[in-house]
Amino acid sequence: MKFTILGMGIWGRGLQGAGALGEVVRGASAIVPETEFVAPRPAAIPAREQRRAGLLVNLAVMVAHEACENAGVDKTLVPSVFASALGDTDVTDYMCRKLTQTEKLLSPTRFHNSVHNAAAGYWSISAANHAPSTFVGGFVNSVGAGLLEAVTQARAFGQPTLLVCYDIANRQPFADLLPVGESLACALVIGGEAGEQAASQAGIDCELAYVDGQTSPTPPSTPALAQLASANPVGQALSLCEAVVRVCGPGFAGERTLWISATPSASLRIVLRKPS
C-alpha cells in the first residue's frame, strides 16, 4: 500500500518538536543523561484545562497540532488515529487505588479522562474538528496498529490522516508489566498515494507491506535516539520519524527500509523514498 508522510510532530526528552529531532539526527545537538524532560504545554488547551487533562493528553495534543502545522493541513478537517500501548496509566492508577477503598468516590473528571479516546476528544475540541477520530490499541505493537489504521483511512477518505503515537513513563505496578522509562509522543500526517495530494502537500513517498512472520523492529540509527526508543513502545514511531529526516537530508539517494511490529507474529515493512 502506497502512502506519503506530509509532516511530523515530536515530544520527548531533548526532543521539543520535529526541529529538535532534525538537529539531533544531524549531530547539531545531543541528548545526554542529564537532559531533562520538559512537560508539554500545548497552546491549544487552556492552562486550567491542561492540569485537568494530564501529561498523556497534553503530550498527544502537543504533537498532533505540531504535525498538522508542519504538514500544512487544515486542522478542522483532518481525520485522526491515536495509538498507545498502555493508555493513561496515571488515571488507571488513580481509579484502581480509589476503588480499593471503602468509600469509592471517583472524580468525574478523572473518570471521563479514563476512556482511552480521551486524547482524541481533547484534540478534536482543541482543533474544532468533526472528522472521524479513533483510538487503537496494539499493546507493544500499537505503532504498527495505528500506522495501518491511519494509512487505510487516508486511502479510504482520500485525504491526509493524522496519526498520534504516545505513551508516558510509568511506575509500579505498570512497570512490572511493561516498563516505560521515558515519556514520548510522535505524530505523523499520513497522505494517500502520491499524486492524489495537492502540490503543496508533496511528502515522502512510502510503501507499506503487511508481512506474516516476525522481524525485529528497526531501531533509530542515531545512538541517543536508539536509547530513547528502547525505553518506550512509541520508539518504533521515532525510528520512522528519524528515517524521514534522513531521507530528506542533503545527499540522500535511493530508499530506506524499516520494520515496525504489527502483531506478535507479523510486521510492517516500510520503504521510504526521497520525493523527486
Binding site: 484502581c96 480499593t100 481533547y122 474538528n129 468533526h130 489504521e149
Partner: protein, 383 residues
C-alpha cells in the same frame, strides 16, 4: 460489498441468538437489581450469566476475555469461521475488537493484592491482560489468526467503529475476512465512574421516557464475521464523526450525531427515507436521549421505525456497538424488531416502538455515541 457471514452474542439476555430472540419476543429485560461484589451503588445491572467452567489461559485471565470465550462458543460461529479458513489463509484474516474496559476488572483485582513496593503478585503478572488491546490480542491468539489485529477503544462507539475498520481493510483488499467484535465486562470502574457523573438510574433504564433517570450498566460480548462473499445481509455504510464539544456531554444541537448518520447514509447511497428501522443509542440519560430525539426527529422519515434496546441489555459501553449491530442484523434476517423494553410512555418526536413486533425489514441503522465525542452509525441491508 461487505457481507455478514455469521454472528453471535452473549448479553444479559442470555448466551447465543436463541436465548436473545426469546427474550426480545417476550419483551423480557435482562436487567436485575445490582448484586455485584464490593458495589453499594443502588442500581440495576445487565450482567451475563457466566458459568465458572468458562475459562481462558492464565496470561489472558479476566472477566472480559471469559465473556469473549463464552460468545465464541455460541451460534456455530467457529464453524462459520472454519469454513472461511478452508479457503483463506490465516494471515489474510483480520481481527478488530472494540472495548472500553478491556481487562480493567483484573487490574482492579490486582490493586487489591499489591505487594510491598506496589508490585504485582505472580498470578497478576499478565501484561497481555492489563492493557487496552487485551480483547483483540486474545481473540487472535485464541483463533490462531495471523492477519492484522487491533483493538478500538473509543468509549461507547468502540465496537461500532470496528465495522468501519473492517470495511476499509476488506475494500482495500488488505485481508479477505475480518472477525469484528466487542466485549466489555461489568466492573467497579464503570459503575462508580458513571455514579460519579450522577448518570446511573436507581431503577431499570427507560430510554426516551419522560421520567427517565439515567443508564443501567450492562456487559456483553459479540462477534460478526465479515467477508466480500455474497450473504443475506450486507454492511452498506459506516459513518464516523467527532462532537468536538465536551468530554462527557453531547452538544445540544447533536451535530456529531447528525454527521455520523449522514456519513453512513451517504456511503450507503441512501437517505433516511430509505431506512426501515433505527436502533438508537438511547441510553436513558436526560441529555443523550433529548439530543438523539432532536436529530432523529429532524432526519427521520415518516415510515421509519425506531427503538432503543438498552432496557433489554443494559448499556454495555464498549460492547454496545456490537450488541446493537447484531440485533439489527438479526432483525433484518428474522423480521423480529426489538422494542424499547421498560419504557411505557415516551416523548420522542418519532415512531418509537415500545413492544417488539414482527415486521419485515429491508434496511436498518444502528447508532453509537461515545464519551470523548466519538460517534458511529452503521447501515445494514438485506441483500
Amino acid at each position: 460489498m461487505i457481507h455478514v457471514q455469521a454472528f453471535t452474542l452473549c448479553s444479559a439476555l442470555g448466551a447465543g441468538m436463541g436465548a436473545t430472540r426469546q427474550a426480545l419476543a417476550a419483551n423480557r429485560s435482562g436487567l436485575m437489581p445490582a448484586n455485584w461484589p464490593d458495589c453499594d451503588v443502588p442500581c440495576y445491572l445487565g450482567a451475563v450469566d457466566l458459568p465458572e467452567e468458562v475459562v481462558v489461559p492464565d496470561a489472558f485471565a479476566c472477566r472480559n476475555n471469559r465473556l469473549i470465550e463464552l460468545a465464541l462458543a455460541q451460534d456455530n460461529f467457529l464453524s462459520a469461521l472454519d469454513a472461511v479458513r478452508s479457503t483463506v489463509p490465516s494471515h489474510r484474516i483480520g481481527v478488530v475488537m472494540g472495548t472500553s474496559t478491556s481487562g480493567i476488572d483484573r487490574t482492579e483485582a490486582a490493586y487489591r493484592h499489591l505487594t510491598e513496593g506496589d508490585h504485582l503478585p505472580a498470578g497478576f503478572l499478565q501484561p497481555r491482560t492489563h492493557n487496552p488491546h487485551s480483547p483483540g490480542d486474545y481473540v487472535a491468539h485464541r483463533l490462531g489468526i495471523h492477519g492484522p489485529c487491533l483493538t478500538v477503544s473509543a468509549a461507547c462507539a468502540s465496537s461500532a467503529k470496528v465495522f468501519a475498520v473492517a470495511q476499509r481493510w476488506l475494500t482495500q483488499e488488505l485481508v479477505d475476512a475480518v472477525v469484528v467484535g466487542g466485549a466489555d465486562a461489568l466492573c467497579l470502574s464503570v459503575i462508580y465512574g458513571f455514579h460519579s457523573l450522577q448518570l446511573v438510574s436507581p431503577a431499570p433504564c427507560t430510554p426516551f421516557a419522560p421520567d427517565r433517570q439515567g443508564i443501567s450498566l450492562g456487559e456483553a460480548a459479540g462477534f460478526v464475521l465479515l467477508t466480500r462473499e455474497p450473504a443475506p445481509v450486507q454492511l452498506l455504510g459506516a459513518g464516523e464523526s467527532c462532537d468536538a464539544y465536551h468530554m462527557s456531554s453531547a452538544p445540544p444541537d447533536g451535530l456529531g450525531a447528525r454527521l455520523c448518520m449522514e456519513r453512513a447514509l451517504a456511503q450507503a447511497g441512501m437517505t433516511m427515507a430509505d431506512i426501515d428501522y433505527v436502533n438508537l443509542h438511547g441510553t436513558g440519560t436526560r441529555a443523550n436521549d433529548e439530543t438523539e430525539a432532536l436529530v432523529c426527529g429532524e432526519m427521520g422519515a415518516p415510515r421509519t421505525v425506531f427503538s432503543a434496546t438498552k432496557g433489554f441489555t443494559g448499556h454495555a459501553l464498549g460492547a454496545a456497538g456490537i450488541v446493537e449491530a447484531v440485533l439489527v442484523i438479526d432483525a433484518l434476517l428474522t423480521g423480529l424488531v426489538p422494542g424499547t423494553c421498560n419504557t411505557r410512555r415516551h416523548e420522542a418526536p418519532f415512531d418509537l416502538l415500545l413492544e417488539s413486533r414482527e415486521q419485515s425489514l429491508r434496511t436498518a441503522m444502528s447508532n453509537s455515541f461515545g464519551f470523548g465525542g466519538n460517534n458511529c452509525s452503521l447501515v445494514f441491508a438485506r441483500a
